[in-house]
Amino acid sequence: MSEQATPNHAIPYATIGTSCQSFPDNDPFLSSAVTPDQAGIILYLGYPHRNDDSKQAILVELHTECLGELTGEHLGEEGSNVLGFARYRNGADDPSPLIELVKQKNSKPEAIAAAIALFESAGLQVAVCNDHLGRIIDRLVRPKYNAALRFLDEGRATQKDLDLTCKLGLGYPDGPIERVVRGGLVHHYNVTTALFEGTGASGYAPARRAIVAAKRERN
């Protein structure tokens, strides 16, 4: 797990709900939270948010959904002080230091700035993105994991050689197969299913091994 500081931030923040996804129980981020009435920023963790224009920012934790599903959309002119965020996590792995911060066209710049400052003060790093399915990382890596799983099925190479190639040839800390399996094939199935349903792009169609894992879990 990454080194993470307790936030030292001028704007007090509150958390509503709990989330194993972004902030596990012992996460230092949670210990500095204040009560909602004292807070300038409210984070909703796995809990339906309430609009509150008096707050600098309302941050809603996202999973595979778009922010627009929670805020509503207005013909491309949506946006307020409500932002989405997701601390990137490869399924069962510990959370990474990355926060994907999701904005809409008319999101308030001061809400974005406050959110970035808050997360950075907690030792996290923020990448800002618009409200697209899969945000940045899942949008980019899930098709690659699908391809690697397909290569394994087709006998292009062994798992060991597939992973070793990516580590030695590209400097990745781990190979795609070991990573997707460690994170959980069922997790991969859930993420790619959402992406495939939302985009129709063939690269997101869940890999056979992920389908098998999901079916076995159901049975």
Binding site: L98, Q125, H132, I137, R139, P143, K144, P176
Partner: protein, 293 residues
């Protein structure tokens, strides 16, 4: 029958990849003949090789006498008949089937029957390359990564007609060179490019679709996944024009939509934004400003 390998030829030795492979071979103790049609390129590569070894000595990675021995083992030539002495020839010439076939035809006339032809191709089929030789059983894929003198990985592929003996000998040689071989089937892009080229295209499409700007995309990938380099920074390094060539090679064979060149990539190349080499691609290397800024 297996022949022990004592002399290695490198075709395209005046290029970046060829020069790197020649360094690997000479450093590992093999008599190495570096061939290129351009004497100027060869002379330049020889000078860079000498500088590389000097740096290795300065950094304590190589003893001076070993540098001198390695350089003595490495000869350069623009006369292809000198490759007659080679037990194995690694070609790193231009990635075009016709160019490789023309080279193999010449090698068939020059080299003894036992000579193994190894192709450093990253995109072409080993079987198709081998069809340009009268000895397809002697042809094997040995794809080094750039810079070859530093990167240990070699993707090794057998074509349909490659003999098991050829593959086994080439594999053993790769290990003798101090490299790490991985075995992959003769499929488009082998492992590395088959995963990388569509992934890089997806990153370009994310910029194109307005998912995030280039800096945020690369930051997310580096911080979230622990990659040393973001995909857009990597494309700038590879060259956007090279990325188009890779796309054309793969998409033509696979018809995988992820392998097709994104329109933004073509527009940027048309605008002269080819990456680091032009000073600007997804990032501006003059002022460090983001693409589009």
């Amino acid at each position: 029958m297996s022949h022990s390998i004592t002399t290695i030829g490198v075709c395209g030795g005046g290029g970046t990849m060829g020069a790197g492979i020649a360094i690997v071979a000479a450093r590992a103790g093999f008599k190495t003949i570096s061939y290129d049609r351009s004497p100027d390129s060869l002379a330049s590569a020889r000078k860079q090789t000498s500088q590389f070894f000097d740096k290795s000595v300065e950094r304590g990675k190589m003893k001076p006498e070993l540098r001198d021995e390695a350089l003595a083992r490495l000869t350069i030539t623009s006369d292809i008949s000198e490759l007659a002495a080679c037990d194995l020839v690694i070609e790193a010439v231009f990635e075009e089937l016709g160019v490789k076939h023309a080279l193999l035809k010449q090698l068939d006339e020059v080299c003894p029957d036992h000579t193994i032809y190894a192709s450093n191709t990253s995109t072409l089929s080993i079987t198709e390359i081998a069809s340009g030789s009268t000895r397809p059983h002697n042809v094997v894929g040995m794809h080094f990564c750039l810079p070859a003198q530093l990167m240990k990985l070699v993707e090794m592929s057998a074509g349909i007609l490659t003999s098991p003996e050829t593959f086994k000998t080439a594999w053993a040689l790769t290990e003798q060179l101090g490299q790490i071989p991985v075995e992959t089937r003769d499929d488009p892009g082998f492992i590395l490019n088959a995963l990388l080229v569509p992934f890089n295209n997806d990153a370009i499409r994310a910029v194109e679709a307005g998912v995030a700007d280039a800096g945020d995309i690369d930051k997310a990938i580096k911080v979230g996944l622990g990659y040393k380099m973001g995909p857009l920074e990597l494309i700038d390094l590879i060259g956007l024009d090279t990325q188009i060539r890779l796309c054309e090679a793969f998409y033509g064979i696979t018809l995988d939509p992820r392998a097709s060149a994104p329109p933004l990539l073509r527009r940027m190349v048309a605008a002269g934004l080819t990456g680091r080499k032009s000073g600007r691609g997804f990032f501006n290397y003059g002022s460090n400003a983001m693409f589009g800024a």
